[in-house]
Symmetry: C2
Subunit: 251 residues, 2 copies
Protein backbone atom coordinates (compact mmCIF):
# COMPACT_ATOMS: atom_id res chain seq x y z
CA UNK A 1 0.00 0.00 0.00
CA UNK A 2 1.59 3.22 -1.22
CA UNK A 3 0.24 6.49 0.19
CA UNK A 4 0.47 9.10 -2.59
CA UNK A 5 -0.95 12.12 -0.75
CA UNK A 6 -2.34 13.05 2.64
CA UNK A 7 -4.42 16.03 3.78
CA UNK A 8 -6.31 16.81 6.99
CA UNK A 9 -9.33 19.10 7.33
CA UNK A 10 -12.23 19.34 9.72
CA UNK A 11 -10.79 16.58 11.90
CA UNK A 12 -10.63 14.09 9.00
CA UNK A 13 -7.38 12.71 7.57
CA UNK A 14 -7.75 11.83 3.88
CA UNK A 15 -5.08 9.68 2.24
CA UNK A 16 -4.87 8.72 -1.42
CA UNK A 17 -3.16 5.40 -1.98
CA UNK A 18 -2.48 2.67 -4.48
CA UNK A 19 -2.57 -1.09 -3.97
CA UNK A 20 -0.90 -2.58 -7.04
CA UNK A 21 -2.28 -0.42 -9.86
CA UNK A 22 -5.64 0.31 -8.15
CA UNK A 23 -6.21 3.79 -6.71
CA UNK A 24 -8.16 4.37 -3.54
CA UNK A 25 -8.84 6.83 -0.75
CA UNK A 26 -9.03 6.20 2.99
CA UNK A 27 -10.63 8.63 5.44
CA UNK A 28 -9.92 8.38 9.18
CA UNK A 29 -10.44 10.56 12.22
CA UNK A 30 -7.42 12.83 12.67
CA UNK A 31 -7.73 12.69 16.42
CA UNK A 32 -8.69 9.13 17.38
CA UNK A 33 -6.03 7.18 19.26
CA UNK A 34 -7.72 3.76 18.97
CA UNK A 35 -8.62 1.69 15.91
CA UNK A 36 -12.05 2.24 14.28
CA UNK A 37 -14.34 -0.16 12.42
CA UNK A 38 -14.11 0.25 8.64
CA UNK A 39 -16.83 1.02 6.07
CA UNK A 40 -16.04 0.24 2.43
CA UNK A 41 -17.82 2.44 -0.13
CA UNK A 42 -18.63 1.03 -3.57
CA UNK A 43 -19.38 3.87 -5.97
CA UNK A 44 -22.14 3.82 -8.59
CA UNK A 45 -21.83 3.62 -12.36
CA UNK A 46 -20.16 6.69 -13.86
CA UNK A 47 -18.80 7.83 -10.47
CA UNK A 48 -15.36 7.14 -9.00
CA UNK A 49 -13.60 6.81 -5.64
CA UNK A 50 -12.82 10.53 -5.48
CA UNK A 51 -16.28 11.85 -6.42
CA UNK A 52 -17.78 14.58 -4.30
CA UNK A 53 -20.87 12.68 -3.14
CA UNK A 54 -18.78 9.71 -2.04
CA UNK A 55 -16.28 11.94 -0.21
CA UNK A 56 -19.12 13.77 1.61
CA UNK A 57 -20.56 10.43 2.73
CA UNK A 58 -17.13 9.22 3.85
CA UNK A 59 -16.46 12.37 5.90
CA UNK A 60 -19.89 12.11 7.51
CA UNK A 61 -19.28 8.48 8.57
CA UNK A 62 -15.93 9.55 10.07
CA UNK A 63 -17.06 12.69 11.92
CA UNK A 64 -20.51 11.59 13.09
CA UNK A 65 -20.11 7.82 13.21
CA UNK A 66 -16.51 7.44 14.33
CA UNK A 67 -15.73 5.04 11.49
CA UNK A 68 -12.80 4.71 9.11
CA UNK A 69 -13.91 4.71 5.45
CA UNK A 70 -12.28 3.55 2.22
CA UNK A 71 -13.16 3.56 -1.47
CA UNK A 72 -11.44 2.33 -4.63
CA UNK A 73 -12.02 3.03 -8.31
CA UNK A 74 -14.05 0.25 -9.84
CA UNK A 75 -13.06 -1.10 -13.28
CA UNK A 76 -13.48 1.42 -16.11
CA UNK A 77 -13.98 4.31 -13.64
CA UNK A 78 -11.85 7.13 -12.27
CA UNK A 79 -8.20 6.83 -13.28
CA UNK A 80 -8.59 3.25 -14.53
CA UNK A 81 -8.40 2.35 -18.23
CA UNK A 82 -11.67 2.11 -20.11
CA UNK A 83 -11.43 -1.03 -22.24
CA UNK A 84 -13.14 -1.20 -25.60
CA UNK A 85 -15.83 -3.45 -24.14
CA UNK A 86 -16.63 -0.97 -21.35
CA UNK A 87 -16.83 1.84 -23.89
CA UNK A 88 -19.35 -0.23 -25.87
CA UNK A 89 -21.50 -0.96 -22.80
CA UNK A 90 -21.43 2.68 -21.76
CA UNK A 91 -22.29 3.88 -25.28
CA UNK A 92 -25.32 1.55 -25.33
CA UNK A 93 -26.60 3.13 -22.11
CA UNK A 94 -26.02 6.68 -23.38
CA UNK A 95 -27.68 5.99 -26.74
CA UNK A 96 -30.76 4.60 -25.05
CA UNK A 97 -30.87 7.47 -22.58
CA UNK A 98 -30.71 10.00 -25.42
CA UNK A 99 -33.67 8.30 -27.10
CA UNK A 100 -35.61 8.24 -23.83
CA UNK A 101 -35.83 4.45 -24.09
CA UNK A 102 -35.74 2.20 -21.02
CA UNK A 103 -32.14 1.60 -20.01
CA UNK A 104 -32.64 -1.17 -17.47
CA UNK A 105 -31.33 -4.08 -19.55
CA UNK A 106 -28.22 -2.17 -20.70
CA UNK A 107 -27.44 -1.07 -17.15
CA UNK A 108 -27.83 -4.64 -15.93
CA UNK A 109 -25.48 -5.96 -18.62
CA UNK A 110 -22.93 -3.25 -17.83
CA UNK A 111 -23.07 -3.98 -14.10
CA UNK A 112 -22.83 -7.75 -14.62
CA UNK A 113 -19.75 -7.49 -16.81
CA UNK A 114 -18.05 -5.03 -14.48
CA UNK A 115 -19.00 -6.93 -11.38
CA UNK A 116 -16.98 -10.09 -11.88
CA UNK A 117 -13.58 -8.40 -11.75
CA UNK A 118 -13.20 -6.31 -8.58
CA UNK A 119 -13.81 -8.84 -5.79
CA UNK A 120 -10.15 -9.93 -5.47
CA UNK A 121 -9.12 -6.26 -5.73
CA UNK A 122 -11.38 -5.32 -2.80
CA UNK A 123 -10.04 -8.24 -0.78
CA UNK A 124 -6.42 -7.25 -1.47
CA UNK A 125 -7.24 -3.68 -0.47
CA UNK A 126 -8.96 -4.89 2.70
CA UNK A 127 -5.83 -6.87 3.66
CA UNK A 128 -3.77 -3.70 3.23
CA UNK A 129 -6.20 -1.41 5.10
CA UNK A 130 -6.39 -3.73 8.09
CA UNK A 131 -2.63 -3.35 8.59
CA UNK A 132 -3.16 0.35 9.45
CA UNK A 133 -3.18 1.20 13.17
CA UNK A 134 -6.31 3.35 12.77
CA UNK A 135 -8.44 0.48 11.37
CA UNK A 136 -9.72 -2.78 12.83
CA UNK A 137 -12.50 -5.27 12.10
CA UNK A 138 -15.48 -5.46 11.90
CA UNK A 139 -16.02 -4.15 8.36
CA UNK A 140 -19.19 -2.81 6.73
CA UNK A 141 -20.03 -2.19 3.08
CA UNK A 142 -22.12 0.56 1.49
CA UNK A 143 -22.92 0.59 -2.23
CA UNK A 144 -26.07 1.03 -4.33
CA UNK A 145 -26.79 0.42 -8.03
CA UNK A 146 -23.48 -0.77 -9.55
CA UNK A 147 -22.12 -0.67 -6.00
CA UNK A 148 -24.67 -3.40 -5.16
CA UNK A 149 -24.09 -5.47 -8.31
CA UNK A 150 -20.44 -5.63 -7.22
CA UNK A 151 -21.11 -5.56 -3.49
CA UNK A 152 -23.26 -8.70 -3.45
CA UNK A 153 -20.40 -10.64 -5.05
CA UNK A 154 -17.97 -9.21 -2.50
CA UNK A 155 -20.24 -10.08 0.45
CA UNK A 156 -20.67 -13.62 -0.83
CA UNK A 157 -16.88 -14.06 -0.89
CA UNK A 158 -15.65 -12.02 2.10
CA UNK A 159 -16.47 -13.08 5.68
CA UNK A 160 -14.80 -10.02 7.26
CA UNK A 161 -17.74 -7.85 6.13
CA UNK A 162 -20.52 -8.21 8.70
CA UNK A 163 -23.15 -5.59 7.70
CA UNK A 164 -24.08 -3.90 4.42
CA UNK A 165 -26.29 -1.18 2.94
CA UNK A 166 -27.32 -2.11 -0.61
CA UNK A 167 -30.07 -1.31 -3.10
CA UNK A 168 -31.22 0.10 -6.45
CA UNK A 169 -30.28 -3.14 -8.20
CA UNK A 170 -31.85 -6.22 -9.67
CA UNK A 171 -31.08 -9.07 -12.03
CA UNK A 172 -31.56 -12.82 -11.99
CA UNK A 173 -27.81 -13.41 -11.58
CA UNK A 174 -27.91 -11.63 -8.22
CA UNK A 175 -30.69 -13.75 -6.67
CA UNK A 176 -28.66 -16.89 -5.82
CA UNK A 177 -25.82 -14.71 -4.53
CA UNK A 178 -28.26 -12.83 -2.28
CA UNK A 179 -29.63 -16.15 -1.05
CA UNK A 180 -26.13 -17.04 0.21
CA UNK A 181 -25.84 -13.85 2.31
CA UNK A 182 -26.85 -13.92 5.98
CA UNK A 183 -25.38 -10.68 7.43
CA UNK A 184 -27.68 -7.74 8.38
CA UNK A 185 -28.73 -5.75 5.30
CA UNK A 186 -30.38 -2.34 4.87
CA UNK A 187 -31.78 -2.34 1.33
CA UNK A 188 -32.78 0.84 -0.52
CA UNK A 189 -35.48 0.84 -3.17
CA UNK A 190 -36.75 3.85 -5.12
CA UNK A 191 -40.50 3.46 -5.55
CA UNK A 192 -40.46 5.17 -8.99
CA UNK A 193 -37.07 3.87 -10.13
CA UNK A 194 -36.58 4.47 -13.85
CA UNK A 195 -33.86 1.78 -14.07
CA UNK A 196 -34.95 -0.95 -11.65
CA UNK A 197 -38.48 -2.41 -12.00
CA UNK A 198 -40.22 -2.31 -8.60
CA UNK A 199 -41.07 -6.02 -8.56
CA UNK A 200 -37.49 -6.96 -9.44
CA UNK A 201 -36.13 -4.78 -6.64
CA UNK A 202 -38.56 -6.35 -4.15
CA UNK A 203 -37.55 -9.81 -5.40
CA UNK A 204 -33.88 -9.06 -4.69
CA UNK A 205 -34.70 -7.87 -1.16
CA UNK A 206 -36.76 -11.01 -0.68
CA UNK A 207 -33.85 -13.22 -1.76
CA UNK A 208 -31.41 -12.31 1.05
CA UNK A 209 -31.14 -15.06 3.67
CA UNK A 210 -30.35 -12.51 6.40
CA UNK A 211 -32.31 -12.80 9.63
CA UNK A 212 -32.14 -8.99 9.92
CA UNK A 213 -32.84 -7.15 6.70
CA UNK A 214 -34.75 -3.88 6.28
CA UNK A 215 -36.25 -2.61 3.06
CA UNK A 216 -36.36 1.21 2.91
CA UNK A 217 -38.50 2.31 -0.03
CA UNK A 218 -38.99 6.00 -0.88
CA UNK A 219 -40.73 7.84 -3.70
CA UNK A 220 -38.62 9.11 -6.58
CA UNK A 221 -36.39 7.98 -9.39
CA UNK A 222 -33.11 6.02 -9.35
CA UNK A 223 -30.87 8.89 -8.26
CA UNK A 224 -33.32 10.53 -5.84
CA UNK A 225 -32.57 8.68 -2.59
CA UNK A 226 -33.67 11.09 0.18
CA UNK A 227 -30.99 12.61 2.35
CA UNK A 228 -32.29 11.06 5.59
CA UNK A 229 -31.26 7.61 4.33
CA UNK A 230 -27.63 8.70 4.84
CA UNK A 231 -28.38 9.22 8.52
CA UNK A 232 -30.27 5.92 8.63
CA UNK A 233 -27.32 4.03 7.11
CA UNK A 234 -25.00 5.56 9.69
CA UNK A 235 -27.20 4.34 12.52
CA UNK A 236 -27.45 0.91 10.89
CA UNK A 237 -23.64 0.67 10.81
CA UNK A 238 -23.40 1.97 14.38
CA UNK A 239 -25.81 -0.75 15.50
CA UNK A 240 -23.82 -3.54 13.86
CA UNK A 241 -20.19 -2.40 13.83
CA UNK A 242 -19.84 -0.60 17.14
CA UNK A 243 -20.65 -1.24 20.76
CA UNK A 244 -23.61 0.93 21.72
CA UNK A 245 -22.55 4.22 23.26
CA UNK A 246 -25.68 4.55 25.41
CA UNK A 247 -28.62 2.50 26.59
CA UNK A 248 -31.62 2.31 24.23
CA UNK A 249 -34.01 2.32 27.16
CA UNK A 250 -32.51 4.85 29.55
CA UNK A 251 -35.10 4.40 32.27
CA UNK B 1 -60.27 17.31 30.96
CA UNK B 2 -60.24 15.73 34.43
CA UNK B 3 -56.90 14.50 35.77
CA UNK B 4 -57.60 11.41 37.89
CA UNK B 5 -54.04 10.55 38.97
CA UNK B 6 -50.51 11.81 38.54
CA UNK B 7 -47.14 10.14 39.16
CA UNK B 8 -43.56 11.11 38.29
CA UNK B 9 -40.67 8.68 37.78
CA UNK B 10 -37.41 8.80 35.84
CA UNK B 11 -38.05 12.39 34.81
CA UNK B 12 -41.45 11.58 33.26
CA UNK B 13 -44.76 12.89 34.58
CA UNK B 14 -47.61 10.47 33.84
CA UNK B 15 -51.19 11.71 34.22
CA UNK B 16 -54.35 9.65 33.82
CA UNK B 17 -57.30 11.71 32.68
CA UNK B 18 -60.80 11.56 31.30
CA UNK B 19 -62.36 13.65 28.55
CA UNK B 20 -66.09 13.02 28.77
CA UNK B 21 -66.26 9.27 29.44
CA UNK B 22 -63.04 8.42 27.55
CA UNK B 23 -59.96 7.50 29.56
CA UNK B 24 -56.48 8.49 28.50
CA UNK B 25 -52.91 8.98 29.68
CA UNK B 26 -50.53 11.84 28.95
CA UNK B 27 -46.76 11.62 29.48
CA UNK B 28 -44.64 14.78 29.67
CA UNK B 29 -41.13 15.64 30.75
CA UNK B 30 -41.14 16.46 34.47
CA UNK B 31 -38.40 19.04 34.02
CA UNK B 32 -39.12 20.90 30.78
CA UNK B 33 -40.13 24.53 31.22
CA UNK B 34 -41.27 25.09 27.58
CA UNK B 35 -44.03 23.41 25.58
CA UNK B 36 -43.20 20.22 23.62
CA UNK B 37 -44.63 18.85 20.39
CA UNK B 38 -47.18 16.08 20.97
CA UNK B 39 -47.23 12.48 19.69
CA UNK B 40 -50.57 10.66 19.83
CA UNK B 41 -50.34 6.87 20.23
CA UNK B 42 -53.08 4.69 18.79
CA UNK B 43 -52.93 1.23 20.35
CA UNK B 44 -53.43 -2.03 18.48
CA UNK B 45 -56.30 -4.49 18.67
CA UNK B 46 -56.58 -6.16 22.06
CA UNK B 47 -54.30 -3.58 23.73
CA UNK B 48 -55.29 -0.42 25.59
CA UNK B 49 -53.99 3.03 26.49
CA UNK B 50 -52.35 1.78 29.67
CA UNK B 51 -50.63 -1.30 28.23
CA UNK B 52 -46.98 -1.85 29.04
CA UNK B 53 -45.64 -1.71 25.48
CA UNK B 54 -47.44 1.57 24.80
CA UNK B 55 -46.22 3.10 28.07
CA UNK B 56 -42.61 2.08 27.31
CA UNK B 57 -42.85 3.71 23.88
CA UNK B 58 -44.38 6.85 25.39
CA UNK B 59 -41.63 7.18 28.03
CA UNK B 60 -38.95 6.69 25.39
CA UNK B 61 -40.40 9.47 23.20
CA UNK B 62 -40.44 11.77 26.25
CA UNK B 63 -36.96 11.01 27.63
CA UNK B 64 -35.01 10.60 24.39
CA UNK B 65 -37.08 12.67 21.98
CA UNK B 66 -38.28 15.50 24.19
CA UNK B 67 -41.90 15.01 23.14
CA UNK B 68 -45.17 14.98 25.02
CA UNK B 69 -47.18 11.80 24.38
CA UNK B 70 -50.85 10.89 24.83
CA UNK B 71 -52.98 7.78 24.35
CA UNK B 72 -56.68 6.98 24.78
CA UNK B 73 -58.60 3.75 25.01
CA UNK B 74 -60.11 2.91 21.65
CA UNK B 75 -63.71 1.60 21.51
CA UNK B 76 -64.16 -1.83 23.07
CA UNK B 77 -60.71 -1.69 24.71
CA UNK B 78 -59.32 -0.97 28.17
CA UNK B 79 -61.98 0.33 30.54
CA UNK B 80 -64.52 0.93 27.75
CA UNK B 81 -67.64 -1.19 27.38
CA UNK B 82 -67.47 -4.13 24.98
CA UNK B 83 -70.71 -4.05 23.03
CA UNK B 84 -72.31 -7.24 21.82
CA UNK B 85 -71.13 -6.54 18.26
CA UNK B 86 -67.51 -6.12 19.37
CA UNK B 87 -67.73 -9.37 21.29
CA UNK B 88 -68.96 -11.10 18.12
CA UNK B 89 -66.14 -9.66 15.99
CA UNK B 90 -63.56 -10.60 18.59
CA UNK B 91 -64.96 -14.12 18.95
CA UNK B 92 -64.71 -14.61 15.17
CA UNK B 93 -61.00 -13.72 15.28
CA UNK B 94 -60.33 -16.00 18.25
CA UNK B 95 -62.21 -18.92 16.73
CA UNK B 96 -60.24 -18.66 13.51
CA UNK B 97 -56.97 -18.29 15.37
CA UNK B 98 -57.70 -21.42 17.37
CA UNK B 99 -58.30 -23.36 14.16
CA UNK B 100 -55.11 -22.00 12.61
CA UNK B 101 -57.15 -20.46 9.79
CA UNK B 102 -56.22 -17.14 8.18
CA UNK B 103 -57.62 -14.32 10.25
CA UNK B 104 -57.05 -11.46 7.82
CA UNK B 105 -60.68 -10.89 6.77
CA UNK B 106 -62.00 -11.05 10.35
CA UNK B 107 -59.34 -8.61 11.55
CA UNK B 108 -60.15 -6.25 8.68
CA UNK B 109 -63.88 -6.34 9.51
CA UNK B 110 -63.17 -5.76 13.19
CA UNK B 111 -60.86 -2.81 12.43
CA UNK B 112 -63.31 -1.24 9.97
CA UNK B 113 -66.22 -1.37 12.40
CA UNK B 114 -64.12 0.01 15.25
CA UNK B 115 -62.50 2.66 13.12
CA UNK B 116 -65.47 4.85 12.32
CA UNK B 117 -66.16 5.90 15.89
CA UNK B 118 -63.06 7.36 17.54
CA UNK B 119 -62.12 10.24 15.21
CA UNK B 120 -64.25 12.87 17.00
CA UNK B 121 -63.04 11.46 20.34
CA UNK B 122 -59.40 11.95 19.33
CA UNK B 123 -60.16 15.46 18.13
CA UNK B 124 -61.89 16.38 21.38
CA UNK B 125 -58.95 14.98 23.32
CA UNK B 126 -56.51 16.92 21.14
CA UNK B 127 -58.40 20.16 21.89
CA UNK B 128 -58.08 19.43 25.61
CA UNK B 129 -54.39 18.42 25.47
CA UNK B 130 -53.41 21.55 23.58
CA UNK B 131 -54.73 23.68 26.47
CA UNK B 132 -51.94 22.25 28.69
CA UNK B 133 -48.89 24.50 29.15
CA UNK B 134 -46.51 21.58 28.50
CA UNK B 135 -47.93 20.85 25.03
CA UNK B 136 -47.97 22.76 21.75
CA UNK B 137 -48.41 22.00 18.06
CA UNK B 138 -47.18 20.40 15.84
CA UNK B 139 -48.71 16.99 16.51
CA UNK B 140 -47.59 13.56 15.29
CA UNK B 141 -49.41 10.23 15.27
CA UNK B 142 -48.07 6.71 15.81
CA UNK B 143 -50.25 3.64 15.40
CA UNK B 144 -49.96 0.30 13.58
CA UNK B 145 -52.50 -2.42 12.77
CA UNK B 146 -55.81 -1.24 14.30
CA UNK B 147 -53.94 1.95 15.18
CA UNK B 148 -53.54 2.52 11.44
CA UNK B 149 -57.08 1.55 10.49
CA UNK B 150 -58.18 4.28 12.88
CA UNK B 151 -55.22 6.57 12.33
CA UNK B 152 -55.76 6.97 8.60
CA UNK B 153 -59.29 8.22 9.27
CA UNK B 154 -57.97 10.61 11.91
CA UNK B 155 -55.24 11.97 9.61
CA UNK B 156 -57.76 12.51 6.83
CA UNK B 157 -59.89 14.62 9.19
CA UNK B 158 -57.35 16.42 11.38
CA UNK B 159 -54.99 19.08 9.95
CA UNK B 160 -53.13 19.61 13.22
CA UNK B 161 -51.35 16.25 12.74
CA UNK B 162 -48.36 16.84 10.45
CA UNK B 163 -46.41 13.53 10.49
CA UNK B 164 -47.36 9.91 11.15
CA UNK B 165 -45.90 6.43 11.59
CA UNK B 166 -48.36 3.80 10.34
CA UNK B 167 -48.35 0.23 9.04
CA UNK B 168 -49.39 -3.43 9.36
CA UNK B 169 -52.76 -2.67 7.79
CA UNK B 170 -54.62 -3.08 4.54
CA UNK B 171 -58.12 -3.01 3.13
CA UNK B 172 -59.79 -1.45 0.13
CA UNK B 173 -61.65 1.04 2.32
CA UNK B 174 -58.34 2.55 3.41
CA UNK B 175 -56.98 3.23 -0.10
CA UNK B 176 -59.02 6.38 -0.95
CA UNK B 177 -58.39 7.72 2.57
CA UNK B 178 -54.63 7.19 2.10
CA UNK B 179 -54.83 8.94 -1.26
CA UNK B 180 -56.13 12.05 0.52
CA UNK B 181 -53.15 12.19 2.90
CA UNK B 182 -50.11 14.32 2.03
CA UNK B 183 -48.14 14.59 5.30
CA UNK B 184 -44.83 12.69 5.74
CA UNK B 185 -45.42 9.01 6.54
CA UNK B 186 -43.17 6.24 7.83
CA UNK B 187 -44.95 3.00 6.97
CA UNK B 188 -44.10 -0.35 8.59
CA UNK B 189 -44.64 -3.64 6.80
CA UNK B 190 -43.81 -7.11 8.10
CA UNK B 191 -42.47 -9.18 5.22
CA UNK B 192 -44.00 -12.41 6.59
CA UNK B 193 -47.14 -10.86 8.10
CA UNK B 194 -49.66 -13.55 8.98
CA UNK B 195 -52.54 -11.03 8.98
CA UNK B 196 -51.73 -8.57 6.18
CA UNK B 197 -50.99 -9.96 2.69
CA UNK B 198 -47.72 -8.47 1.42
CA UNK B 199 -49.19 -7.14 -1.81
CA UNK B 200 -52.06 -5.46 0.05
CA UNK B 201 -49.64 -3.78 2.45
CA UNK B 202 -47.52 -2.53 -0.46
CA UNK B 203 -50.67 -1.25 -2.17
CA UNK B 204 -51.60 0.79 0.92
CA UNK B 205 -48.11 2.33 1.07
CA UNK B 206 -48.38 3.09 -2.63
CA UNK B 207 -51.72 4.88 -2.13
CA UNK B 208 -50.49 7.70 0.14
CA UNK B 209 -50.21 11.01 -1.73
CA UNK B 210 -47.38 12.16 0.55
CA UNK B 211 -44.30 13.58 -1.14
CA UNK B 212 -42.21 12.08 1.67
CA UNK B 213 -43.16 8.54 2.60
CA UNK B 214 -40.81 5.72 3.59
CA UNK B 215 -41.67 2.05 3.58
CA UNK B 216 -39.75 0.08 6.22
CA UNK B 217 -40.19 -3.64 5.60
CA UNK B 218 -38.64 -6.24 7.90
CA UNK B 219 -38.79 -10.03 8.11
CA UNK B 220 -41.16 -11.58 10.59
CA UNK B 221 -44.82 -11.92 11.46
CA UNK B 222 -47.42 -9.29 12.37
CA UNK B 223 -46.26 -8.70 15.93
CA UNK B 224 -42.51 -9.03 15.29
CA UNK B 225 -41.57 -5.43 14.39
CA UNK B 226 -37.85 -5.15 15.22
CA UNK B 227 -36.84 -2.96 18.11
CA UNK B 228 -34.76 -0.59 15.98
CA UNK B 229 -37.94 0.70 14.31
CA UNK B 230 -38.79 2.41 17.61
CA UNK B 231 -35.58 4.40 17.32
CA UNK B 232 -36.29 5.08 13.65
CA UNK B 233 -39.77 6.41 14.43
CA UNK B 234 -38.31 8.73 17.06
CA UNK B 235 -35.89 10.18 14.53
CA UNK B 236 -38.70 10.52 11.98
CA UNK B 237 -40.74 12.53 14.49
CA UNK B 238 -37.68 14.59 15.44
CA UNK B 239 -37.12 15.44 11.78
CA UNK B 240 -40.70 16.60 11.27
CA UNK B 241 -41.92 17.90 14.63
CA UNK B 242 -38.82 19.59 16.05
CA UNK B 243 -36.22 22.06 14.84
CA UNK B 244 -32.96 20.20 14.24
CA UNK B 245 -30.66 20.29 17.24
CA UNK B 246 -27.47 20.04 15.17
CA UNK B 247 -26.31 20.33 11.57
CA UNK B 248 -26.58 17.18 9.45
CA UNK B 249 -23.31 17.97 7.66
CA UNK B 250 -21.11 19.30 10.45
CA UNK B 251 -18.15 20.13 8.22
Amino acid sequence: MQVTSETTSGGVAERSFTVGDIRGTVWTSAGTPSASPLILLGHGGGQHQGSEALAARARRYVTDGGFAVAAIDLPGHGARPRTERYQQLLAAIRDNAAEGAPRASEVRRYNAELAAQPVPEWQEMLDALLTLDEIAEPVGYWGVSMGTAIGIRLLAAEPRITAAVLGLAHGRALLPLAASITIPIEFLLQWNDDLVPREAGLALFDAFASEEKSLHANPGRHHEIPFFELESSQRFFARHLRARTGPLFPD
